[in-house]
Symmetry: C2
Subunit: 360 residues, 2 copies
């Protein structure tokens, strides 16, 4: 009996000791894919203040809410947002059942391969595309379609799966915040049910922490089975002023940290900053045409139709003390699969490798 | 150095040992306010199957989602739902600013003290009451009003704070499920922002796990401050077929366990049962006029306008193998403040006392 107790204690002690070691090792070098510089320093300094008991900027664990935009903040959104490629592929797949599309825009141009003409209709054309491809099926059917597509569809320029084009520094940031007691949420203009099927595996963010745009759904019994039908009717647009609305609806607290990359995230960052106590806001500026894309039009970078980071937003960021990340300067590595160039110290970080394994 | 290591290990071992002891003590007698009987047994048997690795009914931790109706399931909803008393008190408080209410229903009857006449207008009258009292202010202002009211308003018959009229057996059930890896959610027809300000303290359920009915909100800058204005416009009714819709919108997974008490919960239980794998559904039947209220009309109990448990629902529960709790037979104690009658064994349970302390 006594020996057993001793053995149990010893085993328990070892488990605890290992846990302590792991925590320490992790705390030793957070954010290994971030270059040492003002952006990385602003993050780690904030986390130190927010988690240090007795600090004037201490944030209780229950209030540690961090919100992340998805397109352009956690993964690549150029040359077009991923969900748009999904919609285009769905149009092609569904075309045989819709002969009328050959004479209706935006479908006709799309089926002829003229993406530019198809999207000339702007928001209205986009909406029609989404409704034709994202609705009139059950939520379970839609989830299956998204999963199958994400497992095979590839980025038109980089040839990789879209889930391989997530940003390694942001994966590390998500992990770092969670290790410091933060609950991480996605708050995206993208479809809530387009992100949920893969967000947990790729980002470690469970479905109930994903907020996005949505169509209306309706409960009904179909062949005796209770299902939710996706209706071809907009429910909510989680962009711009919609982001604080979505945050309040889903989370019910004001975030302490907010991360974005475009004008669509402005109100989310404003809302986050509007709370009392310490707050942290960050925007990613895509200025790296070599490793990813370069677009603004802030700082004279090329303009884009979707995902623009305007000069006005850049001025607001400077004025409001928001951190702006230069992808080129602040990120030692962009994508998980990249060969990392030799660092100054030449040390390989085992943590990053395990991260890479995790999201695959 | 060696001594310090040893001391650290010993301290760690003690911490672990204490943690193990606490877990064991807790596991020894779950649900102390539940009488031993088929209802309690159905719950504990399900949890054993769902959490036992290798069991055919094993549920992975990430899928352990349990949803609870609030009114009549977690707290007392008679003679009227609590939120209605809140609305009535708000009408009285706001009346001086609304002289027109003296000539407009449902306000006029209400201000004369004729509750019956005020509610004769049915759903439409209710909606007008809610819009006049729950909107046209910021979310922060509304939260402050709810908190102040909950801290002082008392049940018209029992004279207690409403948060004292939560069900002790359900508090224990929430704790028991969480101790077994379940994430607990409220899914209520009540207002989402009416519940969030106190649900964490009373039930241990954080704001982001509260789902309910809502008004639309709008982001705006007011005197340079970013706020969300509550608009006098319905956004979502989280009742009946709306419950599965709300669950999908907020959680994005099908629950494994669902708890309710009235016809408004039928679709939530159907939707829960519709998933593959093991599922558990439960309804509370209020048949205890001595300690709480007795209403159905199921089983010949008195009928009620709000919160009815119909005979059709009772038949469906029997047919679908849903557990029906008889408040009278299955609950040894109803409210936390009750003096518990001597049990068969005469043992006082320390766990229940700590529970009581917690929710106050």
């Amino acid at each position: 009996m006594k020996t057993t107790n001793k053995q149990t204690l010893l085993a328990a002690a070892l488990v605890c000791a290992l846990a302590f070691t792991a925590t320490t090792a992790r705390a030793a070098e957070p954010l290994p894919s971030w270059n040492d510089g003002p952006a990385k320093k602003s993050i780690t300094a904030f986390i130190e203040r927010a988690t240090k008991p007795g600090s004037p900027d201490f944030v209780p664990v229950s209030e540690r809410i961090a919100v992340f935009d998805n397109d352009g903040t956690l993964w690549c959104e150029q040359p077009l947002p991923v969900q748009l490629y999904f919609a285009l592929d769905r149009v092609k797949a569904l075309a045989p059942q819709h002969p009328e599309w050959n004479a209706t825009e935006p479908f006709a141009s799309l089926l002829k391969g003229d993406l530019h003409a198809a999207l000339a209709g702007g928001g209205r054309a986009l909406l029609e595309l989404v409704m034709a491809t994202h609705a009139s099926m059950t939520t379970v059917e839609f989830e299956r379609i998204v999963k199958a597509w994400m497992a095979t569809a590839r980025h038109p320029k980089k040839g990789k799966l879209y889930t391989e084009l997530v940003y390694q520094p942001m994966l590390e940031l998500l992990d770092y915040l969670r290790a410091n007691g933060f609950k991480t949420f996605i708050v995206s203009g993208g479809g809530i049910e387009f992100m949920r099927p893969w967000a947990e595996q790729v980002y470690g963010i469970p479905p109930e922490q994903v907020i996005g745009s949505s169509v209306k759904t309706k409960f009904e019994m179909r062949d005796g089975e209770p299902v939710l039908m996706r209706l071809p009717e907009l429910n909510f647009i989680d962009d711009k002023g919609g982001k604080p609305v979505g945050i309040n609806q889903h989370i019910g607290r004001r975030p302490v940290m907010a991360f974005g990359n475009s004008d669509g995230d402005r109100e989310m960052l404003e809302y986050t900053q509007g709370g009392s106590g310490p707050r942290f806001m960050l925007l990613v500026l895509h200025d790296d045409s070599a490793r990813e894309y370069a677009y603004g039009p802030a700082k004279g970078l090329p303009d884009v139709k979707l995902g623009a980071f305007t000069s006005a937003l850049y001025e607001q960021a400077k004025k409001n003390n928001w951190t702006v990340v230069s992808m080129k300067e602040d990120w030692a590595q962009v994508f998980p699969s990249e060969k990392k160039p030799a660092t100054a110290t030449g040390v390989t970080n085992p943590h990053r490798k395990s991260e890479t394994k995790k999201w695959r």
